[in-house]
Amino acid sequence: MPMLELQGIHTYYGHVQALKGVDVTVEQGEIVTLIGANGAGKSTLLMTICGNPRATRGKIMFEGQDITRAPISTIVRQGVQQVPEGRRIFSRMTVLENLQMGATLGDPAHYKSDLDRMFGMFSILEKRQTQRAGTLSGGEQQMLAICRALMSRPRLLMLDEPSLGLAPLIVKQIFKTIQDLNRENGTTILLVEQNAFHALKVAHRAYVLQNGEIRLQGSGQELLSNPEVRALYLEGGHHAP
């Protein structure tokens, strides 16, 4: 049984149809990457899994349970957590407060050890804990956003373009963090990226979304060498050596 299974998901924004029957599965312990052009519906897919907006048709199963209509808080409690596009940290609150917000639905008993774990992962956050989160650099903000999401101990972590607007060195660090999380904590990852090269390299499996439909799927390596993917998503300049 896959950990997450989307069956024929349709999502609308008013009259605009953003997803047109998407099937995606994520197995326990995998890193699955979703790539696609702007407006393909990648963010919508992640948001739909979280229940905002709701799918109008189709079914979302998480660990054998139907979460298509479950309340948002239930979905998070089940262990699904998203790092939304554009970080969306609470900029006027301190770093520590941001992390605590992430633990809202978590077990209070874990709070302290989780906090130490985050600080162990990104020591910069420990140094900046009383600083307003809005004054962090872009990379630090992304780290904070990831840590905030991790505070609820998700089993499925979904990241929406974590490398957006970051310098190559930081991007490398972020991808390394994602791989470490997957390897060491066994966190399952669903990764949405524009930076297709990196994202496909770390992925076990990947999907290509086009106009709200799954266009291609395969292992990360397969898609990396797929001529269509190369032409559309890799040659455009995202290609890093």
Partner: protein, 429 residues
């Protein structure tokens, strides 16, 4: 001192020519505006309307415009350059210390105010008014400052509280101390009633709806004569007694006989003063407490980013609703206090102007700042008193003062936000 000198040295030389040009432009605008408004006066000449010029006044206006703009620009040049860096820990600690001192000093003044030699009835009244606005400001601060919901109809909850007390005490003979929680409860209920359908709205839309709600309450009170007494309002509302034990007044069994002191009319006013002081302090304590609880933090997080809150599994509507209800409840407390202090209420006390004043207190004070609200309330309540002599230009002064404050401190008098969590002790240290 040295800091100022250094700051000046770092600044480029002042370009007087540009300043004069700018001032001349301002003077021209003033001339353009003032020519028809001030410069021309119509008068009655043998039954016909004639026009004559008031060139001297026009000249004054233009000169004021010129000099004012020049000085203003000059002042802006000398305004200390704000460093965008986060303040250092040391300076933060010092600021916090100063804040503490001011806080305790103000508390001391507030506690001893009724016993100071100059405090007569009118000063006590002023004190009570300031405290009512401080309490309202703190209540609205939950909604606007913490939860970030622009509420333009806060006065509605104040009205609900006031009428609740008036009606409950007159119709059921209930005592102020019983009515106070009930009034708060009713106001909170109205908060939920208004909030439930509207809190999905954002920013400006919510503002319009709350504005409408405030007006609806007032218009209902104005027209539902059988309940609210219509425009005449409700008179002879029972004043508050001593915690439901004994009344005030010059008779046997009243406050002064129990305590064996000489009867004085100010006793009741002093008591009233302390009641509102206690209510205000309770509000402050509650807001400070709430901010450190998950609920208060959720309000602030919601103000910052709703989508992020949703992705963390929060329910934004319920969170907003709780902020709205608690803010409304505090407004209701203040309202029922107002009715008991005044002994008379009518819809005139609950106009939009009132909402605007409370909002101005919150914004001027610095959103989310508790001390700022105190200063803004003192300022906004006392300014009309000071300017009583210029009755005609009062609103003008009021507006000018607000603009000046906003130019001086765009984020309100006190814009620093106190973190709700202290440092997590660094491991091994």
């Amino acid at each position: 001192m040295t800091q100022g000198a250094m700051g000046m040295a770092a600044r480029p030389a002042i370009d007087y020519a540009a300043l004069l040009k700018d001032a001349a432009l301002a003077a021209f605008v003033v001339f353009f505006l003032a020519f028809p408004l001030i410069g021309l006066q119509t008068y009655d000449q043998g039954g016909a309307l004639a026009v004559r010029g008031r060139w001297d006044l026009l000249a004054y206006a233009v000169i004021i415009g010129f000099v004012g703009r020049f000085l203003f620009q000059l002042a802006m040049l000398f305004k200390p350059v704000k460093s965008t860096k986060e303040p250092s820990d040391a300076s933060l600690a010092r600021q916090r210390q100063i804040g503490m001192i001011i806080r305790y000093a103000l508390l001391g003044i507030a506690l001893t105010m009724p016993f100071l030699p100059f405090s007569d009835r009118s000063w006590l009244d002023r004190g009570i008014n300031v405290l009512i606005y401080v309490m309202l400001g703190w209540g609205l601060n939950i909604v606007v400052g913490l939860a970030g919901l622009l509420d333009l109809g806060y006065v509605a909850f104040y009205a609900v509280g006031a009428y609740s007390y008036a009606l409950l005490s007159l119709n059921f003979g209930l005592n102020f101390w019983v009515c106070l929680p009930l009034a708060g409860l009713f106001a909170a209920l109205f908060g939920v009633l208004l909030g439930a359908p509207t809190l999905r709205l954002r920013g400006d839309y919510l503002a319009i709806v709350t504005l409408g709600f405030g007006e609806i309450i007032r218009v209902v009170l104005l027209n539902w004569g059988s309940l609210s007494g219509g425009p005449n309002g409700i008179a002879s509302i029972p004043r508050m007694d001593f915690f439901g034990l004994f009344p005030f007044g010059n008779r046997e069994g009243a406050f002064h006989t129990v305590f064996g002191i000489e009867y004085e009319r100010t006793h009741q006013i002093i008591f009233t003063y302390f009641v509102i002081l206690a209510l205000a302090l309770m509000t402050n304590w509650m807001v400070n407490r709430l901010r450190k609880l998950p609920l208060g933090r959720a309000w602030e997080a919601l103000r910052e980013d709703e989508i992020a809150c949703k992705s963390l599994g929060m329910n934004p509507t319920n969170t907003k609703l709780s902020a709205f209800a608690i803010g409304a409840m505090l407004g209701g407390f203040a309202g029922s206090f107002f009715a008991a202090k005044q002994g008379f209420i009518n819809p005139e006390s609950f106009t939009f102007m009132e909402s605007a004043t409370i909002l101005a207190i919150v914004v001027l004070g610095g959103m989310g700042s508790q001390m700022g609200v105190v200063f803004a309330a003192i300022f906004l309540v006392l300014l009309p008193e000071v300017t009583r002599d210029f009755e005609q230009s009062r609103m003008l002064l009021f507006g000018a003062a607000m603009i000046l404050i906003m130019v001086w401190r765009p984020k309100g008098v006190i814009s620093h936000r106190e973190p709700t969590l202290r440092l997590n002790p660094v491991k091994g240290a």
